[in-house]
């Protein structure tokens, strides 16, 4: 019998990747392509959905060819995607309405302020489990409807479709204008602000609060079930799963039991804790979200601590400042000094996410003296990720009443040994990384394989998990406390930078 595989598509913030996995959950081949980041104005971040689709059309055959595999040997395809990024497109032509508005985009801040002051705003956290913030999709849909003449009428007639990236890709894979299925999964739907977290259905109250027509919304489905069969790219292959990337990582780390927690380090960092089949409300700035839903089983919920900027700070160090040629070189620079020299960087590039949720905060570098070199800055860049993780872990411990005893870390930044040591040091718990750092892709593959019976059950997946590395804390308690205190003072200095009525770039609108 010829060997069969599962294909995962990770449609991320900076690139799209196809990874083929075998039955042991081992990576067989990888193909990847970056897409362009459009920054048309300060605070605006856009992607071209057509470019992303074309990238997928290109890399999918590459991943198959690398492994010498045909589409017939692919048991299922699963999708993990950047969450909250909003795509609108024409149902008839398949052409997007402008570019996708990315999760980091803050153009809706004035709209969100206005909505927040309006009557009935309290239903947003009550029903969706999320704060009313620019981070999520609904304000972006509303903004586009408000700023595109005639679009609302077309949306009401069902001629214009909304989706996050997984919806866009599934619709195109399953035929596009020619019979494409318009679906989303519960994890992605839970990030729109339009879904009731308990009923897992679009909520009329929320739809009318944001004034979003129901006709443009995809059907909400489970995270693992066959949505349809691909007619393009992987003809004949079943599309068996979709999850938001962070939920996919939770799944890939096999955090299937309540209390199990993982942190994925990429552009941003996201700590998710499985809380079982009941949603837990946070009193400490964490988000209540859907973790996953397997077929007809009850949904599993999660608490999430979202950090907007971690790897993105290293990218800025590389592209914005030009101090390194490649991201991993940050470790080389940072290792050349013993400490940060008294310098702290708080990367509140588009405000601060968990646990602060301060949209008006902006980034700072404090503690600058003539002693500081680029090496100290590199160290401060890595430490910023460590301390931001600490703040979220503290909030998670308070909300859950448990104290984290070990952190399961994954994502591209876990190849940075110094960073992982810093995280272990500032959390004062061991940090471990699983054998597959690409847990986002692995989670999408696991979910898709489960949907089609390629893997039998969750226990089988658990047995695939192995520890690849472990870092133990080695920092003096007094030093840790003193550094944390400095970090918190630095964070306070970012607050209130953007004044009410100002645009994201700090200037008053004309």
């Amino acid at each position: 019998m010829t060997e069969r595989y599962v294909m995962s598509i990770d449609q991320g913030t900076t690139s799209t990747r196809c990874i083929l996995f075998d039955h042991g959950g081992r990576l067989v081949s990888v193909a990847q392509r970056e897409h362009r980041q459009h920054f048309p104005r300060p605070g605006w971040v856009e992607h071209d959905p057509v470019e992303i689709w074309r990238n997928l059309e290109r890399i999918a055959p590459e991943a198959l060819a690398q492994a010498g595999v045909t589409a017939r040997q692919v048991a299922a395809v699963g999708i993990a995607n950047q969450r909250e990024t909003t795509v609108l497109w024409d149902r008839i032509t398949g052409v997007p309405i402008g570019r996708a508005i990315v999760w980091q985009d803050t153009r809706t801040s004035a709209l969100v302020d206005e909505l927040g002051r309006g009557p009935g705003a309290s239903i947003v956290p009550e029903r969706s489990g999320l704060p009313l913030a620019t981070y999520f999709s609904a304000p972006r849909i509303r903004w586009t409807l408000d700023h595109t003449p005639g679009l609302r009428e077309r949306a009401e007639r069902g001629e214009v479709l909304f989706g996050t990236m997984e919806s866009w890709l599934i619709w195109n894979l399953s035929g596009g204008p020619d019979g494409g299925v318009h679906v989303t999964d519960v994890t992605n739907a839970s990030r729109t602000l339009l879904m009731d977290l308990r009923t897992l259905a679009w909520d009329d109250g929320l739809l009318s609060f944001f004034d979003v027509p129901r006709a443009m919304l995809p059907e909400i489905r489970s995270s693992t079930e066959t949505y349809g069969t691909a007619r393009r790219v992987f003809p004949g292959v079943r599309i068996g799963a979709a999850l938001g990337d962070q939920q996919a990582a939770l799944f890939g780390q096999t955090c299937f039991a309540p209390g199990e927690t993982k942190c994925t380090y990429g552009t941003g960092a996201f700590l998710l804790m499985n809380t079982g089949t009941t949603p837990v409300r946070s009193g400490n700035g964490l988000l209540t979200t859907v973790g996953y839903k397997i077929g007809d089983e009850d949904a599993v919920y999660a608490l999430e601590g979202s950090i907007a900027v971690t790897g993105a700070l290293v990218q800025w160090f590389r592209d914005g400042l030009g101090l390194i040629g490649t991201a991993p070189e940050i470790e080389t620079l940072a290792r050349s000094v013993d400490d940060n020299g008294g310098c702290y960087i708080v990367p509140a590039f588009s405000g601060l996410f968990a646990p602060h949720w301060r949209g008006e905060a902006r980034g700072i570098i404090v503690g600058l003296t003539s002693y500081i070199t680029k090496n100290h800055l590199a160290r401060a860049v890595l430490e910023a990720t460590g301390w931001q993780t600490r703040e979220v872990v503290d909030a998670m411990n308070r909300d859950s009443g448990l104290s984290l005893r070990e952190l399961k870390a994954d994502g591209g930044m876990t190849s940075d040994n110094l960073l992982m040591q810093i995280v272990a040091d500032v959390l004062n718990v061991p940090v471990e990384r699983p054998m597959v750092v690409e847990t986002v892709s692995l989670g999408a593959a696991y979910a898709a394989g489960l949907a089609v019976g390629y893997w039998a059950d969750l226990e089988g997946l658990r047995r695939n998990w192995h520890r690849a590395a472990r870092w133990v804390p080695a920092m003096d308690t007094r030093r840790r406390d003193a550094e944390y205190d400095n970090w918190r003072r630095a964070v306070e200095r970012t607050f209130g930078w953007i004044r009410p009525g100002e645009d994201g770039d700090g200037t008053a609108p004309a």
């Binding site: 990888v30 490649t326 591209g412 040994n417 690849a468």
Partner: protein
């Protein structure tokens, strides 16, 4: 003896031209100055860009000398960059082989461990990234020695310290072992560093085939080797596949 290679002469001329120029030059200007067809100049420039010897400005499309030229004398590939590019394949190798994986580079006559993946049995293991290992008594070291004339020469003048009864301490024998490594494309070590342990390693290559490191597995001799104390062919194949996959990602496509 074969004659001079024309494209290398032309590449050298392009580098000299860029070095002498106060500002960036366009492909057309370079082709004009050297009397080359535009397509020829373009092909050479693209290759030089690939290896980092020239850089192309995004906005203007013009060329200047690349940063890699300035660092020719120092390390070719940042070790943290190497780890980041290799991590997926090192994980897959550990998972397939069931053994611990290490990646090593040369540092002052020793093997520097730049990456370590635990043996996938979830037993307690300690990270040994940053550890230095002897060149002549490890599979990683033999791979590095076999492909670096300078390191091999420095070892020739040194005493080969015995770690076990089977450690290769004779220079001639080591020379023959290194020749086999070059012929076979992989190296092994059976109870040469510590009793009961064996290892297999293969070279990681970058652009042009330059060896930038070695990747290998190590573990109990009864798992790594067969009854004749020869490394199990399947294990050797896993190691070589992983080395090739990393090399492909680094631009060493032919290997």
């Amino acid at each position: 003896m074969p004659g001079p290679v024309q494209s290398i002469e032309r590449a050298a001329a392009i580098l000299r031209l860029l070095a002498a120029s106060p500002g960036r030059l366009g492909a057309g200007e370079i082709a004009g100055s050297l009397g080359l067809a535009r397509g020829t100049a373009h092909g050479i420039l693209r290759t030089l860009e690939l290896v980092g010897f020239v850089e192309r400005d995004e906005a203007t499309g013009k060329y200047q000398l690349g940063a890699a030229l300035l660092h020719l004398g120092t390390s070719y590939l940042d070790v943290n960059e190497l780890r980041s590019r290799a991590i997926n394949w090192a994980d897959a190798l550990a998972s397939r082989s069931g053994e611990a994986v290490r990646i090593g580079t040369l540092l002052d006559g020793r093997v520097l461990v730049v990456h370590h993946v635990f043996r996938p049995d979830d037993s307690l293991q300690a990270m040994d990234v940053g550890t230095l290992l002897p060149l002549h008594a490890t599979a990683l070291g033999k791979v590095l020695l076999a492909h670096d004339a300078h390191a091999a020469a420095s070892v020739r003048d040194a005493v080969l310290e015995p770690y076990c009864r089977r450690t290769v301490t004779d220079h001639k024998e080591l020379g023959r072992a290194l020749a086999r490594v070059r012929d076979n494309g992989w190296a092994s070590e059976v109870e040469e560093l510590s009793i009961g342990e064996a290892a297999v390693a293969a070279p990681i290559r970058g652009h042009g085939g330059l060896v930038v490191g070695a990747i290998g597995v190590s573990g109990a001799v009864e798992r790594v080797c067969d009854a004749r104390r020869v490394p199990v062919p399947a294990l050797v194949a896993y190691v070589r596949d992983a080395a090739r996959a990393v090399s492909r990602d680094l631009g060493g496509t032919r290997w």
